[in-house]
């Protein structure tokens, strides 16, 4: 009983607040039109229009929250903050598919919100009207009397109290029965209009994952650098120090000593040397030290200088890149140049690198005989694997007779 009353009360409040907003919604389209047209007034619209659209989003989000609260469901809020700068605001406005949804909702709200709001108004005004008729019928002029039950004139206390009570009871019953359902229906329709479609939610999720992957990539890169440095300053240095002492110890023994001690020292010394070589190889394949020392440009210059096929570098403005992307780009160029030297018979190669829309584009071309075959050798496979690990793309163009062009796109947080 109490619960039902609560539902009626909340439903009524929800619908009655929605009524004026439905009326206000009628103004949205004309206002947007004015805003857009005001661009003619020295570009006012350029500044105003994005703000209007952003305000619409705030309003739609408020409606979503209201509806969700009524239905007791949870929603994921949509972005409602405006970017800084007019250019960015317009880009945001044009990119945001949700704006169309907001506009559709406004048009729908004019009809649904108004109808449901008026319904709620009836539910409320009918019993209130009955109450007024029952108590204050005598205040009305005789030739224009108050009516109850949709048309019965009230001219004396009998009808007033009797029929007034009937109207209050009927109206109350109507509100009691219809108000919660009506409110819930309206809220569901509103939410459905503003709820992102499965497709959009997927797109949103992909966006989030892309962002979080960029974060992971950054963290991973920082880790790579740290590990390289730690190994260099720690483990590698310790191994060298051990090897030095073993070397000095071996020197202390006569050259022709073939005793156990000499043998063990030799084995320990040689084992340490193997460990140093292996560790160096591990570090080189994980994060080439030259990258840490000279950055990507320096490392690539080193690659180009050492390339068997004369290579030319053409590097655009690359900015800061995640270490993992730098390492991948380095390995890809190294692998491609090695391939060119081994198989293509090229006399020159060009390495181009640039950054477009949050992607590092690596393009290596050579003037060789072409016909690069992925099934032969592991070069291209290795490049594909490196790129795939970073969700990158690899494009190989190598017609028989050449030239060969390998283009790799690597996403990098911008």
């Amino acid at each position: 009983m109490r619960e039902r009353w609560d539902q009626v009360w909340r439903g009524g409040r929800y619908l009655l607040i929605g009524l004026p907003t439905a009326l206000a919604a009628m103004l949205v389209v004309p206002l947007l039109a004015v805003g857009a047209l005001s661009t003619g007034l020295g570009g006012v619209g350029l500044v105003v229009f994005p703000r209007m659209v952003a305000s619409l989003r705030l309003w739609a989000e408020w409606q979503r929250r209201r509806a969700a609260a009524l239905l007791g469901v949870t929603i994921t809020p949509r972005n409602a903050t405006l970017a800084k700068g007019v250019r960015a605001q317009w880009r945001q406005l044009l990119d945001d598919r949700e704006n169309r949804r907001d506009l559709r909702w406004v048009l729908q709200h004019i009809v649904i919100g108004l109808a449901a709001g008026l319904g709620a108004l009836c539910c409320v005004s009918f019993p209130v009207g009955g109450l007024v008729a029952a108590t204050s019928w005598w205040l009305f002029p005789v030739d224009e009397p108050m009516t109850v039950l949709l048309g019965v004139p009230v001219t004396e206390w009998g009808t007033a109290l009797g029929l007034g009570a009937v109207q209050v009871a009927l109206g109350g019953a109507l509100a009691w029965w219809a108000m919660p359902s009506l409110a819930r229906w309206e809220a569901r329709v509103s939410l459905a209009a503003l709820e992102p479609s499965a497709e959009d939610q997927l797109a949103e999720r992909v966006g989030e994952l892309t962002e979080s992957r960029a974060g992971v990539l950054d963290a991973h890169g920082a880790e790579l650098r740290r590990i390289e440095r730690d190994l260099h300053d720690g483990t590698q240095a310790r191994l060298v120090a051990i090897a030095m002492r073993l070397g000095v110890a071996r020197e202390a023994l006569p050259d022709d000593d073939s005793g156990t001690l000499a043998r063990l020292l030799r084995e320990a010394h040689e084992g340490t040397e193997v460990a140093m070589t292996e560790l160096r190889d591990v570090i080189r394949t994980m994060y080439p030290p030259i990258l840490a020392d000279r950055g990507l440009e320096g490392a690539l210059a080193s690659l180009a200088a050492g390339s068997a096929v004369p290579a030319e570098l053409d590097l655009g403005e690359l900015g800061r890149l995640p270490a993992a992307v730098e390492a991948a780009a380095y390995f890809i160029v190294a692998e491609t140049l090695t391939n060119a030297a081994k198989h293509s018979g090229a006399t020159r190669a060009t390495v181009r690198m640039s950054r477009h829309d949050g992607r590092l584009i690596v393009e290596v071309t050579d003037d060789g005989i072409g016909g690069a075959d992925e099934s032969r050798g592991t070069g291209l496979v290795g490049i594909r694997r490196r790129a795939a690990a970073l969700d990158g793309t690899v494009l190989v163009s190598s017609p028989l007779g050449g030239p060969t062009a390998i283009t790799v796109g690597l996403p990098c947080a911008s």
């Binding site: 060298v240 002492r245 030290p289 030259i290 200088a305 050492g306 068997a308």
Partner: protein
């Protein structure tokens, strides 16, 4: 012989001092950065400098730059650069002034005490010593060396490691005379002038480094 060591890792500088001490080489000073190295060289006027590639403050290639600066300030003061990895570009930069007295070795080599001290002395005497790993990198990439025969390549690699004709002959089990002939062929194939002199060996290695493409 007196040397100055630039190495920021105490473990390694102490080890180096110990090791050089056993061979009668005097360590005049141990410094931990490039600036200190400059001062120490001014003060102690050593016969050679041993420098780590990564030095403070950025721990990148300070050692290489310090080596080049010292050689400019002190006309070809012999410098032996040590590193935990080797890069051809660094080798080329170190050799770029065309005069000898330069070494570039992996730190691993230090523990072969006898060979390391020989290398150090060669550098101090104006020779050029390149780590076998640098040579291997060059051989792996190289087209310029395609013009050389296998034997000439072996000779060039040993030459780059700082060995003289006699030592090369011993290692390859051939006579001095044969080595001399190979060296002459290498010089002419790499387009170096036939005039004699130690510099030509440096130039050969440098050409080798430069043309390994």
């Amino acid at each position: 012989m007196r040397v100055v060591i630039a190495e920021d890792n105490v473990l390694l500088s102490a080890g180096l001092e110990l090791l050089l001490g056993t061979k009668g080489i005097d360590v005049a000073a141990i410094v931990t950065d490039a600036e200190g190295l400059m001062e120490a060289v001014e003060r102690h006027r050593p016969d050679a400098v041993i420098a780590d590639v990564r030095l403070p403050p950025t721990f990148r290639d300070e050692g290489i730059r310090a080596a080049l600066a010292i050689r400019q300030a002190h006309r070809g003061l012999p410098v032996l650069v040590l590193s935990q990895y080797v890069e051809k570009v660094y080798a080329r930069e170190l050799l770029s002034d065309g005069s000898g007295g330069v070494g570039y070795l992996l730190k691993d080599r230090v523990s072969r005490v006898g060979e390391f001290v020989d290398d150090l002395r060669r550098v101090a005497d104006g020779g050029t010593v390149m780590d076998p790993e640098v040579i291997a990198q060059l051989m792996a990439g190289g087209n310029a060396v395609d013009a050389l025969t296998n034997r000439e390549r072996e000779v060039l690699a040993l030459m780059a490691q700082g060995l003289g004709n006699t030592e090369i002959g011993k290692r390859l089990f051939v006579t001095d005379n044969a080595v001399h002939k190979h060296v002459g062929n290498i010089f002419s194939k790499l387009g170096l002038p036939p005039s004699d002199g130690g510099h030509r060996r440096v130039l050969a290695v440098l050409t080798f480094l430069d043309s390994a493409r």
